[in-house]
């Protein structure tokens, strides 16, 4: 296995490898698929609705905040959410409205509602005065809290102040849900005129990650001491080994607080946690016992 390196400039020029006929083949390796949304906003002049397609990312779960990145040539959306406090709905489209989602990207005159082109149904919101899209399984009612002019885009942070979900999706199994929505922007193919044909995708597989005893019972944020306690309680570590490991961790914390370090101790702890993370219990016991006896 080798590695191919590209500079940022080379990436933007969409590099093609010898033998590669599709000019987008390599480029989209470097553009990971991202979840798509429909954004409903209101024109501050005409009060008319606008619908545009884009992608979103998560900022925080509590409060629920999301990041939008709006291209400056998406004039309507960019204008409609410039002001802090502007309301908007981030609607998550499903696989059954791919065509209608695409219609929201069409370059149509300001004031013509893209939702009318796809004959989408407006869903009254409960918290803000911008409606959602009834055909979307999830509608997030948002308020703009931060806008930054960022190169070719505006970066917009919004706080979700209300939400609604299609009842069917609310009670569906996770795999069924993610097979339905949200759709993701995946790549562009090339049409006969050299233009772009956008492709969307949906999730199809759900994989369980290894968890406890690979990490703490509660997930990753409780610290290594809690992980050791969990391992002891579940019988993966004997009392002696758990005590030794906890002592090592305490010593390490004390050293850090004093601005000191001890490479030998660092290696001991690292190796012990590594063996736990890979569930090599016999080796872990040997390691702790051997290192403990060495003092």
């Amino acid at each position: 296995m080798g590695r191919l390196f590209y500079s940022a400039d080379e990436l933007l020029r969409r590099p093609v490898f010898p033998g590669m006929h599709d000019p987008t083949q390599l480029y989209f390796h470097f553009r990971p698929a991202r979840p798509a949304n429909l954004l409903v906003t209101r024109d501050p002049i005409s009060d008319e609705l606008n619908l545009s397609a884009g992608t979103y990312g998560l900022l925080s779960e509590k409060p629920y905040t999301i990041c939008l990145h709006i291209a400056k040539h998406s004039y309507d959306s960019a204008r409609n959410i410039q002001a802090l406090g502007s309301p908007c709905v981030v609607a998550l489209p499903g696989r059954d409205i791919v065509q209608e989602t695409w219609f929201a990207s069409l370059p149509i005159p300001r004031g013509i509602f893209e939702g009318d082109i796809g004959e989408l149904t407006l869903l009254p919101s409960r918290v803000i005065d911008v409606p959602g899209i009834a055909e979307c399984p999830v509608n997030l009612e948002c308020c703009v809290e931060f806008v930054k002019d960022w190169h070719t885009h505006y970066v917009v942070f919004t706080k979700v102040v209300g939400a609604s979900i299609d009842e069917k999706m609310a009670v569906s199994d996770r795999l069924d849900v993610i097979r339905c929505f949200p759709v993701y922007e995946v790549d562009d193919q090339t049409n006969e005129f050299g233009g772009a044909i956008e492709r969307l995708g949906v999730n199809g597989e759900l994989l369980a990650c290894p968890f406890f005893p690979v990490g703490p019972r509660d997930g990753g944020r409780v610290g290594s001491s809690a992980w050791i306690d969990d391992l002891k309680e579940a019988g993966y570590l004997g009392t002696g080994a758990a005590t030794t490991l906890s002592d090592w961790l305490k010593m390490w914390e004390r050293l850090l607080q004093a601005g000191k370090t001890d490479e030998s101790l660092r290696r001991r702890i690292t190796r012990a946690l590594e063996l736990a993370a890979w569930e090599q219990w016999h080796d872990l016991h040997d390691h702790v016992t051997r290192e403990h006896s060495c003092g």
Binding site: L4, Y6, R31, S60, Y64, G201, C209
Partner: protein
């Protein structure tokens, strides 16, 4: 179609459990693309990267795209995650490695808040290699690594949002000829949810894309794609015979007139023009060419 509504307070409540949210919150959020964020907490490089470099920190994060030219992305970390926050300053370098389906254990390990100086690289048994454009190493097991500079930091609701600019990238050369549907079934993983098991343990789950669906193209869009303008789209339709020259002229006049009366929101002419343009575009979007010609003939 019945719907369930949530207030902001409802959403806060559903997100309140430490480490795991109520299942509905994950449904309201959707799976998020993941990455391994690699930073170096000390500016002192130790030469060739080694797994034992305690200054290298790896954290599982989710990715948000920001712009394509320059290519920038955002990652968000909790302000309580001191180990990472200490290493994220404007101007510092970092790497974003895209995880594949073969790295599930490593994703779990790198979610942990290990003590400072204890390297996730060693715990996760990651192989690292020297990056070309930044001093922070890349991850050998990741199909793609982005080499980045932190351009901007923003504190937001207890989190640090880092805007990073891609200055280079590398890819495993065995992957470059794979078809897209195979690529998306391998990487990147998406953080799907965390499940609270009956014994109180929290199980993270990731998802991968499978089905790809092509959006419509010309004539249901300009030839170039959505980047073009309405006028270009109409010209494209005329050049390929979907609109004759009279029809094209009529549409162009409507478009021009619409611009003139746009601000006169109470004018009856504006309302009529809006209806006409909406109907026209809907007929084109649905490829109803016979109806389109009849419509343009009737409203002439």
């Amino acid at each position: 179609m019945a719907r369930r509504f949530f207030t902001e307070a409802n959403l806060e409540e559903m997100a309140s459990t430490v480490g795991v949210m109520q299942p509905l919150m994950y449904t309201l959020r959707g799976p998020m693309p993941q990455a391994f964020l690699v930073i170096r907490t000390s500016s002192v490089s130790v030469g060739a990267p080694t797994a034992a470099d305690p200054n290298v920190v790896v954290r599982t994060v989710t990715l948000t795209p920001l712009s394509w030219n320059p290519y920038t992305m955002a990652v968000t970390v909790s302000l309580e995650d001191e180990k990472v926050v200490c290493g994220l300053c404007a101007g510092t370098e970092c790497v974003l490695g895209l995880p594949s389906r073969d790295l599930l254990r490593q994703l779990t390990i790198c979610e942990q808040w290990l003590p400072k100086g204890i390297s996730e690289v060693e715990l996760a048994r990651l192989k690292i290699y020297k990056s070309l454009y930044v001093g922070v190493p890349s991850i050998g097991e990741c199909p793609v690594n982005f080499e980045c500079i932190v351009d901007h930091l923003e504190e937001y609701h207890g989190h640090l949002v880092a805007f990073v600019r891609v200055v280079g990238a590398s890819i495993n050369d065995e992957l470059i000829f794979l078809q897209r549907d195979e690529i998306v079934s391998r990487y990147p993983t998406n953080q799907a949810d965390r499940v609270l098991c009956e014994d109180g343990t929290v199980r993270p789950r990731v998802s991968l894309l499978s089905d790809l669906m092509a959006c419509p193209t010309f004539p249901v869009a300009p030839k170039q794609g959505w980047y073009a303008t309405f006028d270009i789209w109409m010209r494209d339709l005329a050049s390929e015979g979907y609109l004759n020259s009279d029809e094209h002229g009529q549409v162009a006049r409507w478009s021009a007139r619409w611009e003139e009366v746009f601000a006169d929101t109470g004018a009856p002419e504006r309302a009529q023009l809006r209806d006409k343009l909406t109907h026209l575009i809907r007929l084109i979007a649905n490829r109803q060419w016979v109806q389109l010609h009849a419509f343009l003939e009737n409203v002439r």
